[in-house]
């Protein structure tokens, strides 16, 4: 390995560490948040049963440290760089030379096609390690012993497809080694027995592996039929493309060379450098990854309740095309208490779009949790945290467990809090966290001894009705705060349910002695104009300009209906409730 090769490896390592953790910090944090590892019998058994189980376990163990993005990316970069180094070193172990820069091609392809998939990187690493280890063994009998061990335990480390690739590479490399060790003068080279041994061993190994997969599925853990033999560990990638590409890159890297050529070396180094730049450029500018990162960034800001920052971060132009941006913008408005003033500045129709009602993916569940947390409905926060965890590949995640402890404490569900604290204390990275929360649990238990019991049941259902009715149920139950009243009122306005809007507005006087926010004032002005019921004014107060503006709107709308409108005198009412009401009333429920 010359200086340029070393420089290439260092560049690869540092770029992987720095560049990716710089561009995607929140996405990396989510890797830890949506995974978990605990030293617990049930969990360890579950992971080992997932073939290749040891790699799955190791991957989960390492993912704990992705809580700190820099550490996480250092781990990924280390695994990938080690893979590259082993690949580059393999021909030398076969007593040949090679172009070390080629070792980077496979890790680069892995990074490009399976970003953040540590388990896959580890599987690739073990495949390469298996090949490298074979070629550091000198004596043939040790080689046979090694192959026997590899074939019996290898499926715990890598999938069947990789085992086949590893044994094939070993067989080819071994054949070349054997051929080189036989004197060129031997006339009957093609019939020399040692020339055929690697091929025979390869066939025997793969016959054994074929049966071993089935056997392990019966004895260790059931492997679904479509993931038992030939499949692509990279989701969405055709297994043939995956296998061909990886085999070519593998062979290219471990291909022995008798004489090195400078020009070829420079060419390869240049090619790898260009590929490296291209791969990192494509990764860092991938619109889908960036969108996801932005989503998680908004979630992180909402966690810290930095509402203004959220509004500043969201690109206004994308509000109508990106639901996540719209949701977080509305949540931020609610957090700032400006939702009733600004709701109709946003492209929203129907109250059910204030949160993710029917989408159960992890991002949506996390948003829903934050939504209900702002309303202080912690039972629902617990449920959403739980559902968030369920979406994780292990059926639970560190983030969901941490959140569940918090909400279990807030809802006085102490045994459940204790259970999850105990669970998390068995992970490597939550010892002090568990101590702190156990202290909080103890003090909370002391405090709550005298508190009154909750009702067994009450009409406080969530998810059963439309949002407005749901919030009204909360108010009727006695859970009254400004945010719940606002969500109830805004929801009724969005659903054009003015009867319920007026009922909530007059029953829960959170605005008594204050001027109504814009949307409510517009709605009340419209109701009074429409019904002529002036008695409403005794419950609410708002600027008289809304009555005047509504009359203008009504005149303009009537003129428009009768095609009498003069374009130049038209006032823009686009961001008013009146405009929304007129348009939304024409939409059928199914269109909503």
């Amino acid at each position: 390995m010359n200086k340029t090769d070393k420089a290439l490896y260092i560049v690869f390592f540092l770029t992987t560490c720095v560049c990716i953790s710089w561009v995607y910090p929140q996405t990396i944090a989510q890797l830890e948040a949506t995974d978990y590892f605990v030293w617990n019998d049930d969990y360890l058994r579950m992971k080992i049963a997932e073939l290749p189980g040891i790699t799955a376990l190791l991957s989960d163990y390492l993912l704990q440290f992705f809580r700190w993005q820099g550490v996480g990316m250092t781990i990924e970069a280390t695994v990938l760089t080690l893979t590259a180094l082993l690949l580059a070193d393999t021909p030398r172990r076969m007593v040949f030379s090679s172009y070390p820069a080629l070792g980077l091609a496979l890790p680069l392809a892995s990074l490009f096609m399976a970003l953040f998939q540590l388990e896959f990187y580890l599987q690739t690493f073990f495949m390469v390690l298996a090949i490298w280890l074979f070629f550091i063994i000198r004596k043939n009998w040790w080689k046979y012993a090694y192959l026997a061990v590899l074939c019996t335990t290898g499926l715990f480390l890598m999938p069947w497809t990789m085992m086949v690739m590893a044994t094939l590479t070993i067989a080819i490399g071994w054949t070349i080694q054997e051929r080189e060790s036989i004197s060129p003068q031997t006339s009957a080279l093609r019939h020399h027995p040692s020339y055929f041994i690697p091929g025979i061993v390869f066939v025997l190994c793969n016959i054994w592996l074929y049966f071993e997969v089935g056997m392990m599925s019966r004895l260790v853990g059931f492997t679904p039929l479509d993931r038992r033999y030939f499949y692509s560990p990279i989701e969405g990638l055709n297994p043939w493309i995956y296998a061909s590409l990886y085999l070519v890159l593998l062979m290219m890297a471990v291909k022995p060379v008798n004489r090195l050529h400078k020009s070829v070396r420079y060419g390869i180094q240049g090619g790898i450098l260009i590929t490296c730049i291209a791969v990192f450029y494509l990764i860092c500018t991938n619109p889908q990854f960036l969108r996801e990162e932005k989503g998680w960034q908004l979630a992180a800001l909402a966690e810290k309740k930095e509402w203004k920052q959220i509004l500043n971060t969201i690109p206004k132009k994308e509000l109508s095309t990106n639901k996540a941006y719209l949701e977080y913008a509305l949540l931020a408005e609610a957090g700032l208490g400006t939702l009733p003033d600004n709701i109709f500045n946003y492209p929203i129709i129907f109250s059910e779009n204030l949160l993710y009602r029917s989408n159960s993916n992890a991002f949506c569940r996390n948003f829903n949790r934050q939504f209900y947390e702002n309303l202080e409905i912690f039972d629902e926060c617990f449920r959403q945290s739980y559902e968030f965890g369920i979406q994780c590949r292990n059926g639970a995640g560190f983030a969901s467990m941490r959140q569940m402890v918090k909400y279990a404490l807030l809802t006085d569900n102490f045994p459940v809090a204790e259970k999850y604290i105990a669970k998390l204390s068995k992970s490597t990275t939550h010892k002090s966290w568990a101590r702190q929360w156990r202290q909080a649990l103890d003090s909370q238990q002391q405090r709550n001894r005298t508190q009154t019991a909750k009702p067994v049941r009450a009409n406080t259902f969530l998810g059963a009705y439309q949002l407005g009715v749901e919030m009204k149920g909360q108010l009727e139950f006695g859970k009254q705060n400004q945010s719940i009243v606002d969500y109830a009122l805004v929801s009724f306005l969005l659903d054009c349910d003015l009867r319920n809007f007026l009922h909530v507005l007059t029953t829960y006087p959170v605005y008594s002695g204050r001027q109504l926010p814009k949307a409510y004032a517009e709605a009340v002005a419209m109701i009074i104009f429409d019904t002529g019921d002036e008695s409403i004014r005794q419950y609410v107060s708002y600027s008289p300009q809304y009555d005047m503006q509504f009359r203008q709107f009504d005149a303009q709308y009537t003129a428009l209906q009768e095609n009498k409108g003069a374009e130049n005198s038209k006032i823009n009412f686009n961001k008013t409730y009146w405009n929304y009401f007129v348009k939304a009333s024409q939409i059928t429920p199914s269109q909503k």
Binding site: R218, L225, Q391, P415, V416, F461, G463, A464
Partner: protein, 476 residues
């Protein structure tokens, strides 16, 4: 020589340390988990390993009729060797075993010996296996779930099917014909889903549905040909600020009979109309009666407090597969109160066990739900002692094949996950229930999963999981 003496003293000291004795004694019973104090257990139960929270050392001695048979040391729990436990069970069958517990912890660094307690080893045995569904504890989503079988004499727990076999879909509602491991059924919901019906070990996939609605809660007729199903449109809603967290309810539910020989549904318009909801069918052990729950429909979930299910029964003719008349009320929710579900008749046909909550159909989510016994000989209805808890639901009960044991699920540990309990049934009453023994007893607390619908089985299910998987992934 000097070195030899030092070595001897060290060894002596070592031995003395190993045999350390508790320095104090209290009259309190030990705070063991699970609570096995005073329980009656079957003669073939797995070792009753238990622990004491925060103990650093424990010593437990089991003795019978004054003779110490077994001494075990542990840290925060004891792990009794299987062979020694079996020997103890065989020697103490039908007798009381005295258990002496000493523990060392931060509060009692010199050790404390608690008051001895007894465990009664009954003469009778329990069925070899219990099958249950392991599912995440509640709400809508799931990730991993499995129908498992647990060998009750050891700690062996093996899957019958996991949702790996149907690409992560839901698997549910397992039911065995008289606990026969070669005759059972289960549903799998996903693309290519259906009902797996295994008869005499032969597996088939059926699409059992009434219109567009899939068959839901099953009960196999003891004759082995018919399966009674309720066809439910199940929904759930979530409470906030309440003790109860979830309400599961049916918008509609009907009762049908499935003929597994002809692969056809037998409908009876009395039980498929919209005037009432019928659910949770269960045949009597002689197969002549079909018990089920029935209630008038209401606007749900708003009026869930008004949903009161009664237990009815109707004669069943095994020759025709038809339900006869009259329809008899066994538990009248209107007059007797509450809402009943999961009727299960004891193997001798003398008792009916039901789970009763204040309202609704899914009692496992109702903290107030209790198990109730109805003496079918004289109509007495009573709440048995020793089996119910004050604050957690008891439900999903089932009788062992000899009728001497019951299993049921309860959320009494932490209110959220359900665990399995067992109790001995004698002369119309139960002895104190005990938690499913585990190798590490804390596993009962730490497990993420709920034990759902336990059913005794008389042997191990040897299902071909590859075949199941192929069936569940094919569209046929």
């Amino acid at each position: 020589m000097r070195h030899f003496i030092i070595l001897c003293f060290t060894l002596l000291f070592w031995c003395a340390c190993d045999k350390k004795m508790p320095q104090s004694q209290v009259e309190e019973l030990p705070p063991v988990f699970p609570d096995y104090i005073g329980v009656t257990v079957p003669a073939n139960i797995a070792p009753l390993n238990f622990g004491i929270k925060d103990a650093t050392d424990m010593r437990v001695a089991f003795s019978c009729e004054g003779t110490t048979l077994l001494e075990i040391n542990g840290d925060d729990y004891i792990d009794i060797p299987l062979s020694e436990w079996k020997e103890l069970l065989s020697k103490c069958r039908g007798k009381d075993v005295d258990v002496s517990v000493s523990a060392w912890n931060q509060e009692h660094p010199d050790g404390i010996r608690y008051r001895d307690f007894t465990i009664h080893i009954d003469d009778s045995e329990i069925d070899d296996y219990v099958a249950y569904r392991l599912i995440p504890p509640g709400y809508v989503g799931w990730n991993k779930m499995a129908i498992m079988q647990r060998h009750l004499s050891t700690f062996e727990e093996t899957p019958i099917i996991t949702n790996n076999e149907n690409e992560g879909g839901c698997i549910n509602c397992h039911n065995f014909c008289k606990g026969d491991p070669k005759r059972y059924m289960l549903h799998a919901r996903n693309k290519g889903g259906g009902t797996i019906v295994v008869k005499d070990g032969i597996m088939t996939k059926r699409n059992i549905a009434m219109g567009s609605q899939n068959a839901t809660y099953p009960n196999w007729h003891p004759g082995g040909r018919y399966i009674a199903f309720s066809v439910n449109d199940v929904h759930q809603s979530f409470y906030s600020h309440c003790t109860q967290k979830i309400e599961v309810f049916d918008f509609s539910s009907d009762l049908v009979i499935y003929d597994s020989d002809k692969d056809s549904i037998i409908e009876d318009c009395r039980f498929t109309d919209t005037l009432s909801l019928e659910t949770f069918p269960a045949f009597s052990p002689d197969g002549r009666m079909l018990y089920f729950c029935s209630a008038e429909p209401h606007l749900l979930p708003y009026e869930v407090d008004s949903m009161h299910y009664s237990i009815l029964r109707v004669p069943f003719d095994e020759k025709t597969g038809k339900m006869g008349s009259p329809v008899d009320t066994v538990y009248n929710a209107r007059t007797q109160g509450g809402s009943a579900c999961h009727p299960r008749v004891s193997p001798d046909g003398r008792y009916l066990m039901i789970s009763v909550a204040d309202c609704g159909t899914f009692t496992i989510h109702h903290p107030e739900a209790d198990l109730i016994l109805i003496n079918l000989m004289n109509g007495d209805i009573y709440k048995p002692d020793n089996i119910n808890s004050d604050t957690a639901p008891e439900s999903y009960h089932n009788w062992s094949s000899n009728g001497k044991w019951v299993t049921f699920a309860s959320r009494r540990l932490e209110g959220r996950t359900t665990n399995l309990y067992f109790s001995h049934f004698i002369n119309g009453q139960f002895t104190k229930s005990f938690l499913l023994p585990q190798k590490n007893p804390w596993k009962n607390e730490q497990r993420f999963f709920s034990y759902n619908v336990p059913e005794f089985i008389t042997g191990k299910v040897n299902a071909d999981r590859d075949q199941m998987s192929k069936m569940l992934q094919s569209k046929k």
